[in-house]
């Protein structure tokens, strides 16, 4: 075998190895979490509140808390992102302002989530007087996933053939009607993809809610807005993980991890059909 062929084989093998390693990683993570966590999960675990500093009891309120945060975040983030995307494409021409918008969005997306937490702690929790609250967490998470949704919507709007708009205009539809009749229906998949993807990320984030919304004990269901923190799966897991010497905590940690992983995966997977379906339609055109 010539050196050339050896190099060829070696490189290809390396690439396949890289692929294989990455895939194994995913499967490995899944396998471990499932194996260690599945034994812990039962109806009681999923519904009862934690007890004994998390060593016993379950994660019921944490699941509720995370669901509350996810829903709040979605309700807050989606309209804001939609507004941003619409203004950007309907009221500005392609050019510097649009590119600037995009750059800013990508940059915000890269901001470490802990900084959102810090910001939320000072501005929302203290300055705005909301105290540690599920709403504060929702607000902070919403700003965090804003770029994800806005970019997804924008991609869909860009994919819209300009002739559609032209035709609607020629029929006498004004700008607003063009948005409602042509732009929005076509971009609905983008809104869903972006939101579900963003919520998948938001559901698993600990840092933003650590300082703004989450506690470890003492709350089951919030009764109001101000000073109404919640339990949340990521934070719950975070605290349990730090108690790594105690087997009871650890076993509960695995259970929590499995539930959390499941939720994040579900949301991510849910976003896929819209994305993939859109792509296929593009290819068909």
């Amino acid at each position: 075998m010539t050196p050339r062929r050896i190099c060829d084989r070696a490189f290809l093998a390396a690439c396949l190895a890289g692929q294989f390693f990455s895939m194994t990683l995913l499967l490995g993570i899944l396998a471990i979490v499932v194996a260690k966590g599945i034994g812990v999960i039962d109806w009681t675990f999923l519904t009862s509140p934690p007890a004994g500093g998390g060593r016993s009891g379950g994660i019921g309120p944490a699941i509720l808390g995370t669901l509350l945060l996810v829903v709040t975040t979605g309700i807050l983030a989606a309209p804001l992102a939609l507004g941003l995307a619409l203004v950007r494409t309907e009221y500005f021409q392609p050019g510097r302002v649009r590119s600037f918008f995009e750059l800013v969005l990508y940059t915000i997306n890269g901001v470490p989530s802990i900084l959102f937490g810090l910001f939320g702690y000072e501005v929302i929790v203290n300055r705005m007087g909301l105290g540690k609250s599920w709403l504060a967490g929702g607000l902070v998470l919403a700003v965090m996933i804003l770029p994800t949704i806005a970019v997804s919507i924008h991609e869909q709007i860009e994919a819209l053939p300009p002739s559609y708009r032209d035709q609607a205009r020629a029929l006498g539809l004004n700008r607003a009607k063009v948005i409602w009749s042509v732009v929005l229906p076509q971009t609905l998949p983008g809104i869903l993809t972006g939101t579900l993807l963003g919520l998948g990320r938001a559901s698993g984030e600990t840092a933003p809610i650590m300082m703004t919304a989450a506690v470890f004990t003492g709350v089951h269901v919030p009764t109001g807005i101000r000073d109404n923190p919640v339990l949340a799966l990521p934070y719950h897991l975070f605290v349990l993980a730090q108690d790594s010497h105690d087997p009871a905590s650890i076993s509960n940690a695995w259970g929590t991890a499995l539930v959390l992983l499941g939720m994040a995966f579900l949301l991510t997977l849910a976003s896929l059909p819209f994305r993939v379906g859109w792509r296929r339609e593009e290819e068909a055109r």
Partner: protein, 315 residues
């Protein structure tokens, strides 16, 4: 016979800032008002976020900024607020991470793009997406219970150390590099590959010389974005880095401190010290300044990565 009431010259289209100059927009529709309002709220939050870090850190930076980036000694009880150890810790951890994720992610991404059957592709892409969606706290748990044991067992370092954090970070960031490299390579026209092969190049050569030159930017962007992510990762690092302040290498100790427990900017910001700091303006200013350093660095990396990537592209 009607007379013209329109201006002699009409310029429609777009005016300053690219804002639509459409006179019809004087009669603002509810849709327009709603969209603009929402945008302003969103922008308001973004501006507030960025402004917060600038405003809250400014007093401290003006008086003691030099200490923050010059001194490795951080001990708030003794009014020592030097962040250099943490900056070093962040750098070490991220470098280790990128050295792992870079090669594996790039090679794997090339593999997915060039060597995978088209039928398999969507499935593998989904798998990578899922991997990217694993919450960092789960990585943290795995880090504590699996990875740190491994590091300890092999004697590479102590269980909770900069090394462990770096390795964990590397694993976490692989999907980012992987998927962006794949995107970059897959976008290259098939004709490039065909020509190279037709000229008699091996598969490797056609990839290296036919495909990669076109995706250099995309791969560079992938690495920058991954680095940004690594720098900003808090929770997983917090759980396995050890959180020892003031780990500054003496002479000849550079390699050793990697194996020892340390502190990064993010692990400090994620600790309860932040709550303590809130009551003391100097301390709080220092903490926010650490955040500002993080913000500027990640913003720069992300912006650079985005510019390299061009329009479109995944987040």
């Amino acid at each position: 016979m009607g007379t013209s009431r329109s201006p002699d010259e009409t310029r429609a289209g777009y005016g300053p800032f690219g804002l639509s100059r459409d006179p019809r927009l004087r009669h603002l529709s509810t849709t327009a008002i709603a969209a603009w309002l929402l945008s302003l709220v969103a922008c308001g939050f973004i501006v507030a976020l960025l402004g917060f870090f600038l405003v809250e850190s400014e007093p401290f930076l003006r008086s003691r900024g030099v200490e923050l980036i010059g001194s490795p000694y951080w001990s708030y009880r003794h009014d020592r607020l030097g962040g250099l150890s943490m900056i070093l810790g962040t750098l070490i951890v991220s470098m280790i991470g990128i050295s792992i994720a870079g090669p594996i992610g790039i090679l794997g991404g090339i593999g997915l793009s060039e060597l995978t059957r088209p039928a398999l592709r969507p499935w593998l892409k989904i798998m990578v997406e899922l991997l990217a969606g694993v919450p960092s706290v789960v990585y943290g748990l795995l880090g504590i219970l699996v990875l740190s044991e491994f590091v300890d067992f092999t004697g590479l370092g102590s269980r909770d150390s900069l090394l462990t954090a770096g390795l964990l970070l590397g694993i976490m960031v692989i999907p980012t590099v992987f998927t962006l490299t794949d995107d970059a390579c897959h976008a290259v026209a098939q004709s490039y590959r065909d020509v190279a092969r037709a000229l008699g190049l091996t598969r490797t050569e056609s990839i290296l010389f036919g495909v990669l030159p076109s995706c250099r930017r995309g791969i560079a962007a992938a690495l920058l974005l991954a680095l940004g992510r690594a720098l900003g990762e808090t929770i997983a690092v917090f759980l396995v880095v050890g959180r020892s302040d003031n780990q500054w290498p003496g002479t000849g100790e550079w390699l050793e401190i990697i194996g020892r427990s340390g502190q990064t900017l993010t692990s400090k910001l994620g600790s309860t010290e932040v709550f303590i700091a809130y009551s003391d303006p100097q301390h709080w200013g220092a903490v926010v300044s650490l955040g500002l350093i993080l913000l500027l660095t990640t913003a720069l990396l992300t912006a650079l990565g985005k510019v390299l990537m061009g329009t479109g592209g995944k987040m």
